[in-house]
């Protein structure tokens, strides 16, 4: 009976504030450790940071085989929208974990993506060389006069 009353009281007074606090603390941790945009994830970091997902840039570079070919998020989106989808790109730029970037990298290099990087990769393979793709996410910074991009984390290298 006491347990039931305590549980009821907890639901009525503490459950939702506790849930809010737990989600917000998790968001702060993910922003600090996994590159989540402060604007998202339920931590109330909106209008607190320049680093919003729409201002981020994801770059992709095909390396190895004595060549280097670059691409960026808008190009990736337009040229691979059929195979990857806009929501995938939004999710990746908002929360660019290593596994997400690897997944994107593998999809980009697959023949189905029909992306110029995939075509170049296929050509390299036919020539007997396995190229790799390097993905990197950048955030906008402002020093009071100039805007620039800084890397959120080091590049992620993906080999299909």
């Amino acid at each position: 009976m006491i347990l039931k009353q305590s549980l009821l009281k907890f639901f009525k007074t503490g459950a939702v504030p506790l849930l809010l606090t737990a989600v917000a603390l998790r968001q702060i941790m993910l922003v600090q450790t996994a590159g989540l945009s402060p604007w998202h994830g339920g931590g109330f970091g909106m209008f607190a940071s320049i680093d919003r997902d729409e201002r981020r840039v994801v770059t992709a570079e095909l390396t190895g085989c004595g060549q280097s070919q670059e691409s960026d998020l808008p190009k990736l989106e337009t040229k691979s929208s059929e195979s990857l989808g806009a929501n995938t790109f939004i999710h990746v730029s908002t929360f660019p974990t290593r596994s997400q970037l690897r997944r994107i990298g593998r999809k980009l290099l697959s023949p189905e993506s029909q992306h110029p990087l995939a075509n170049a990769h296929q050509q390299n393979r036919q020539n007997g060389c396995d190229s790799k793709i390097q993905l990197q996410v950048w955030r906008l910074v402002y020093d009071g006069q100039s805007i620039a991009y800084e890397s959120i984390a080091g590049p992620i290298e993906v080999q299909p």
Binding site: A15, V16, A24, I28, F44, A48, S49, G144, I147
Partner: protein, 296 residues
């Protein structure tokens, strides 16, 4: 009877007990309207349910309906957790509170208690983020936002003395930089010392007012601050959302403010601000837009 007297009488009618039912109905309206500008298909069940609740008012009292609404919002929230912004989370928390309230014997107390805590915690974390990011302490966040965000063009012209052509050039510069992914080059934006100073002052004002809302809602001491917490929240809502209109967030804050206050006059002001929100919130922007076309 004057227009003001009619208005006042209408508010009194709306606030007739039980007030918690009014809050549930207002929440239903907000659930139907929020997020329609960035539609996702996972919103469909909650919109259908909210429509049904508005068409059949008896459903607003039904426990299972609120439980279903909670499930809809939780699924939507979990599905898009990394893309959703603050107030979309806040809607989910508030619907959970509404659900617990309709299942309890004391719905008003449940809504009132949780509203106070949710407002307090939301502002606590918002203030905490202003310190964690560091971009508020040197004013750089607001400075850049004034320079790049078209919604703040009014502020950039009025506070910073910038002209609209310069702001458009700044935006163009950033867009070119982003679309070309020129990540290794920096670009200088055009600004004024007045814009930098105004951004710094407004940054500290934001930290002050948000922190004050957090303290006044979470703590009972100092007593004078706790007793005047509603006025602090209203000052925040009016000063912030008149510059950056975020209707969904502002409206939900008014609904939560309304149920947690014990003062009937303040409840009427909350309700009045909520009803008139579609008019007063975009008004400064509309006036600025008209002036912009006439003068510039």
């Amino acid at each position: 009877m004057t227009l003001f007297q009619r208005w006042s009488h209408w508010l009194d009618e709306l606030l007739e007990p039980p007030v918690y039912l009014l809050v549930l109905r207002l929440t239903t309206i907000l659930l139907l309207l929020h997020g329609i500008d960035h539609w996702l298909w996972t919103m469909l069940p909650e919109k259908l349910l909210a429509t049904a609740m508005l068409l059949r008012p008896r459903l607003v009292r039904q426990r299972w309906v609120w439980l279903a609404m909670s499930l809809c919002l939780m699924v939507h929230n979990l599905w898009h957790w990394s893309n959703l912004v603050n107030h979309e989370y806040l809607y989910t928390y508030w619907v959970l509170v509404c659900t617990i309230a309709v299942w309890s014997r004391t719905p008003r107390q449940v809504l009132s208690w949780n509203a106070r805590w949710i407002i307090g915690l939301c502002f606590f974390f918002a203030t905490l983020w202003k310190f964690l990011g560091g971009e508020y302490l040197d004013g750089s966040f607001l400075h850049l936002t004034f320079l790049l965000d078209h919604r703040l063009a009014m502020g950039a012209v009025l506070f910073g003395g910038l002209d609209l052509t310069t702001l458009a050039e700044n935006r163009q510069l950033f867009e070119t930089m982003q679309t070309s992914a020129a990540v290794l080059e920096s670009q200088q934006l055009v600004t004024t010392p007045r814009m930098a100073a105004a951004s710094l002052v407004l940054s500290y004002w934001t930290i002050f007012i948000e922190g004050l809302v957090a303290v006044s809602f979470l703590l009972t001491m100092p007593r004078w601050l706790s007793q005047n917490r509603d006025w602090v929240l209203m000052v925040f809502v009016i000063t912030t959302y008149a510059v950056i209109p975020v209707l969904g967030f502002g409206a939900l804050l008014m609904v939560m403010g309304l149920i947690q206050t014990k003062n009937s006059l303040i409840a009427r002001i909350y309700l009045g601000l909520l009803i008139l929100m579609p008019i007063w919130m975009p008004l400064p922007q509309v006036i600025f837009s008209i002036l912009q076309n006439v003068i510039f």
